[in-house]
């Protein structure tokens, strides 16, 4: 596999090519007479902004070669950041035009404006609504599922209306091959979305799972044990996750991402997901009846066991233990004796999910466990508070940059751990993170 830095560089170059390629293709061949600088600049911003918006469908299409080398959570974070920039570019397009050519302000009158201007307004308003709903979903009290469906519909309207506006205006898209290029790219990106939302669910319908056990764990947490129903299931690598649909069909926007907690070494297709009660859907997990049909879309994620020669440092906060549990169970099943240190942050001693099993795994692995409790019992002599650089210095052998780090937990913890690793001069290529609240 290519070195980490090279993979990141290739990813960024390909991403930029998808934006700038179609833009500069407009300059190929015979061109209409140029207008003033600001008009041409604003038009270029509009085209590039639309290309960036269309690319969002590719970013979130859950393809492994897109999420590698970042990890799914970082891709979603990037999706949010780059969307704001793309919307800024798209909005700048009419604002610059209105500033240099005030007569165009008349196009804002949607009743009298031609369709090409109406499409532009439709696209811009959809984008603004999309951003507002995403930034303030919780404050606006919009349910996740409602927001998700609206998000997809607004994105399709924004991109489709945007391309309709470009074609309606003509100018750079007078030539059929240029029109075909931009329409083709738009269809391709929207097609990816339809693949995720229609084609893949069709496959899932034919490959359901049955809940064979609902097991209570420590810390208000439940494990769903699922068996493939009439098919062999899929293979995953430990640390990966899947989108679980418990209530309703896979066509509904009700899938939620959860890590697999079972060993990847099982051969009967069994998959476990360990889910903590964090409100919304997760509070209903313990009510799932045995025998219920559920749907799993997966496996996803690049968060998985690293180089066997490196010491593995697993850092888990709360239910962030689930992907680590899959790694440890898999290593144990393979008889893998690589050195592993687990730094595990929990609220208190009684809420440590998998506490007894982790102790038992020490017999089968070269495993050291350090519990860090935020609310320790009286007489506790172990680590307390939060996992930080000092905890690393006390328990990890230097040089710290030689180990591989795997981090999964709440956002606050992830941020502080990544900062601590920076203080210890651990390069980004040596740590892997997965946020379980990335959507």
């Amino acid at each position: 596999m290519l070195p980490y830095r090279v993979r990141v560089a290739v990813w960024i170059i390909v991403y930029l090519l998808f934006i700038l390629g179609p833009l500069f293709a407009l300059l190929v061949g015979a061109l209409p007479p140029a207008r003033d600088f600001w008009t041409e600049f604003s038009v270029a911003l509009g085209y590039a902004g639309l290309a960036m918006m269309s690319l969002q469908f590719g970013l979130t299409a859950r393809f492994r070669y897109v999420t590698n080398p970042w990890g799914e959570d970082i891709i979603y974070h990037f999706h949010r950041q780059i969307s704001l920039i793309a919307v800024g570019l798209v909005v700048a397009h009419p604002l610059i035009l209105f500033a240099v050519r005030p007569e165009l302000l008349a196009l804002l009158n949607s009743i009298q404006a031609p369709w090409r201007a109406r499409f532009a307004a439709m696209s811009t308003y959809s984008l603004i609504a999309l951003v507002v709903m995403s930034l303030w979903r919780v404050k606006l009290n919009i349910r996740y599922e409602t927001w998700h469906l609206t998000h997809i519909l607004l994105a399709i309207i924004a991109v489709t209306a945007g391309i309709a506006h470009m074609i309606g205006w003509g100018f750079y898209l007078v030539y059929p091959w240029k029109r075909a290029l931009w329409i083709g790219l738009t269809i391709f990106w929207i097609g990816l979305l339809l693949y995720i939302r229609i084609i893949k669910p069709l496959f899932q319908l034919r490959r359901p799972y049955r809940v064979s056990e609902v097991r209570e764990e420590r810390g208000d947490t439940w494990t769903l044990v699922m068996q493939p129903d009439g098919h062999p299931g899929f293979r995953f690598t430990p640390g990966q996750f899947g989108w679980l649909t418990v209530w309703g069909s896979p066509f509904k926007i009700t899938g939620h991402p959860f890590s697999f907690s079972s060993s990847a070494a099982v051969t009967d297709g069994r998959v476990d997901m360990t889910i903590r009660n964090l409100g919304d859907l997760t509070s209903e997990i313990h009510k799932v009846p045995v025998g219920k049909r559920v749907y799993l879309d997966g496996p996803y994620g690049a968060f998985t066991i690293g180089n066997p020669a490196d010491m593995h440092v697993l850092i888990a906060g709360g239910v962030g233990i689930t992907p680590m549990m899959s790694m440890l169970r898999t290593l144990a099943d393979h008889g893998d004796k690589r050195p592993v240190i687990l730094l595990y942050g929990s609220r208190d001693w009684e809420s440590i999910t998998f506490r007894e099993e982790l102790e038992a795994l020490k017999e089968r692995l070269n495993l050291t466990i350090i519990h860090v409790l935020s609310n320790p019992p009286a007489g506790w002599t172990g680590e307390q508070g939060r996992i930080d650089a000092e905890v690393f210095r006390r328990h990890l052998p230097p040089p710290y940059a030689d180990h591989e780090y795997f981090i999964c937990g709440p956002n606050v913890m992830m941020d502080s751990i990544e900062k601590a690793l920076g203080e210890l001069h651990v390069p980004m290529s040596k740590y892997h993170s997965e946020r379980y609240s990335f959507v």
Binding site: I12, F24, F41, Q81, I85, G88, K419, M428, S433
Partner: protein, 31 residues
């Protein structure tokens, strides 16, 4: 740190796109 890096990539992408849009416009006006 990765999120910070992703932020920087997003910002750099935005700046590159703006710069390329300037080049696009200049090439048209100059051409």
């Amino acid at each position: 740190m990765r999120r910070l890096f992703a932020n920087r990539v997003a910002l750099a992408t935005g700046l590159i796109v703006i710069l390329m849009s300037v080049l696009f416009a200049l090439s048209r006006v100059a051409g």
